[in-house]
């Protein structure tokens, strides 16, 4: 599995906030996505109909996730009926082994890949290389970060943090191309390099945006046509899907094909939508001789088992929650330390990879709710983040509780202080006494207390007012009122 570096969130996010290149890219690309999304939706739908579409999509996904065993079984039978092979992998290692076994059986030396986030979870490229198989990413963004040896910065725009100069340098180093700042020229350099791979690769590996259980169809949306090349030119096609990617029937799909591109990039439709329902039939002109579909768990059951977090399995990976998240927009994707970033990454990383190492992520949110409002399947991300915080504060001490004794002490003190009016009045009187040496013109320029001192690095903190409101009320503001 891909390494999880989420424990370094604090440091990595601090670096990102200071990195001018990253800040420039984030502002520019995120503004572009959010504006395009808003315009596409406003042009095509009334608020009410967009809302109704989201509600329906959420219901379809909730139904599917709630009956996952049934739909996995149905998909299994459908794919096999179409002449394909189906595999179930419990974890990243098992899924990787299945891919390598298929490759070995076919003597594969080179595999071309269309964008797949599950394969990022698996760390598939490294594993293939170790097994003597050359993997080549064919989505331009993925190709760039593969050359750079990085992980995706954004679910749908993996190389958004790279400038054209950096791309030119990468191409110069790896492909010996002449340096250029012309984007069209850079694209054609990549196209020429990839063309060779499309012609020679024995195996195509893709993800799956949707898997239609009833028909056994893998649906892939791309803008570059690389998905279609990857699924039609090599002898073998292996599709890897998170086991939550299912939709019951083909009739369910059009709704999602309307929601996904608009939410993601503000496109009405992607340039290519590919439907793959098995290997080449006798009457087909092209297509793979063999088709495999691997359903991957890799921690998804941990989400399914939790009745609140289960909702996260409805995600269709559009990236809208990242684009609208004030935190993601400042720290970018790498700070989150694994494959998924932004609000959805903050939710799934812990349950999927290990709660304790990802404990910083659920707190990396202002709970502003912008993510929930743009989610095409209405995942209540703030609620899920709060639920994870609850597990970190009060959950099993063995594998998820991370609240420190100091944090707990604060919480107990706070609880004791606000339990009753008398306690509140006593503790705030004490506070007024203790703060005295630090107050300058009603402000504290530093808060010399563990855990909270960060506030005053760049901001003043208000001192407790000389007279609380309750006292002002009692001393006359309340007048004759005898309430309370």
């Amino acid at each position: 599995m891909a390494k999880v570096k989420s424990a370094a969130f604090k440091k990595a996010s601090a670096r990102a906030v200071r990195d001018e290149g990253i800040q420039h890219a984030l502002t520019h690309v995120m503004d572009h996505f959010t504006e395009a999304r808003a315009e596409a939706i406003a042009t095509d739908y009334s608020d009410e109909s967009w809302e109704a579409m989201r509600t329906r999509a959420a219901a379809i996904k909730a139904h599917t996730i709630g009956n996952l065993d049934y739909y996995l079984d149905l998909a299994d039978r459908s794919v096999r009926r179409n002449g394909g092979h189906v595999h179930f992998a419990d974890d990243a290692a098992a899924a990787t082994q299945i891919v390598i076994d298929i490759a070995k059986r076919h003597g594969v030396k080179r595999a071309i890949k269309s964008k797949s986030m599950v394969s990022e979870e698996m760390g598939l490229n490294d594993a293939l290389e170790r097994a003597g198989i050359e993997p080549v990413e064919t989505d331009l963004g993925e190709y760039i970060i593969q050359l750079a040896g990085e992980t995706p910065f954004h679910i749908i725009a993996p190389a958004m943090h790279k400038t054209r100069g950096e791309v030119s340098d990468l191409f110069h180093d790896w492909l010996k191309s002449a340096p250029t700042s012309d984007i069209a020229r850079l694209c054609s350099i990549a196209r020429d390099a990839l063309r060779k791979h499309f012609e020679t690769a024995e195996m195509g590996i893709t993800g799956a945006n949707f898997v239609i259980a009833e028909t056994g169809t893998v649906v892939i949306v791309t803008n570059e046509g690389n998905g279609r090349m990857t699924t039609s030119t090599p002898r073998v096609h292996v599709a890897i899907a998170g086991m939550e990617k299912l939709l019951p029937a083909i009739e369910d799909l059009p709704l999602f094909l309307r929601l996904l591109p608009r939410s993601a990039t503000g496109q009405r439709t992607t340039s290519y939508t590919s439907f793959i329902s098995g290997p080449r039939a006798a009457s087909d002109e092209d297509g793979p001789e063999e088709f495999h579909l691997i359903f991957v768990d890799n921690g998804r059951l941990n989400l399914l088992k939790d009745e609140v977090l289960r909702e996260a399995l409805s995600c269709i990976r559009c990236g809208a929650c990242l684009n609208h998240c004030p935190v993601y927009r400042k720290v970018g994707g790498h700070a989150y330390g694994w494959v998924y970033s932004g609000p959805i990454g903050a939710v799934v990383t812990g349950p999927m990879t290990g709660m304790k190492q990802a404990a910083d992520l659920p707190y990396a949110s202002t709970l502003c709710g912008a993510c929930r409002d743009v989610c095409p399947v209405k995942i209540d991300l703030p609620k899920l983040l709060l639920h994870l915080r609850h597990r970190h504060a009060e959950g099993s001490p063995r594998d998820e509780r991370t609240g420190t004794w100091m944090e707990r002490l604060y919480m107990r003190r706070w609880h004791d202080a606000v339990k009753t009016r008398g306690a509140l009045e006593r503790s705030t009187r004490l506070g007024r006494l203790l703060q005295k040496p630090l107050v300058r013109r009603g402000k504290l320029r530093s808060l010399p207390l563990p855990l909270v001192s960060g506030w005053t690095k760049d901001r003043d903190f208000p001192a407790l007012a000389p007279k609380p409101f309750r006292q002002i009320w009692k001393e006359g503001l309340g007048g004759d009122s005898d309430a309370g």
Binding site: H415, V418, D458, L464, I472, W473, A483
Partner: protein, 237 residues
Amino acid sequence: MALCATCLVDQFFPEVGVATVTLLRRLNVDVTFPEEQTCCGQIAFNGGYRTEAADVARHFMDVFESERHVVLPSGSCAAMIKVYYQELFRDDPEDLERAQALGEKTRELTDFIVNVLEVTDVGSPARGLVTYHDACHLLRELGISAEPRKLIEGVPGVELQEMPNSEVCCGFGGLFAVKYPHISIAILDEKLEAIRASGADTVVANDCGCLMHMRGAIERRGLGVRAVHIAELLAGE
């Protein structure tokens, strides 16, 4: 009508509480202040400490559930009661029912003035060019954005000049602001730039959380803009 001052107003910004009372009395509202009130419990709930949060929330319900209307000068605390108490008491049918009943009669201040009192001109003598920041919980948990604007526009001496992206978070987020001050400040920088771009001399918001965050940086940096609570603007003090 019972005023819940909120703990931030009570202890740190009593002038906002005074302004709220002045404003409501000017509108002929009989304001009471149940003195046993303390805190709604949001800080513990947001930190994940639901045992402590539930205990404090029960005290809150004890204090306020006999009132006809509960009004708060805070979208965030109102959202805690109206929305998140239901999550907090998800597995406790008895308290859940109490929470739902209390939630229904709880209103954020501008919601109460515009939708219950049906007033948009509150007779404020305030003057100036102001811009309005949509506090997140007020906007997205309670869906309130028109009400405060109507009230601001109803003040004859005040001109409302919208800032770009007024609905984007200021970076406060309660616990977030102390856990990740570097990100919190980076988000705030954009908000302060938007306020500057509006050309307004005053930024108005309905939540003392956002305000102490914005004001903290405004004062540290000596920026020439005031951050005031909407009750203060509408009271005209």
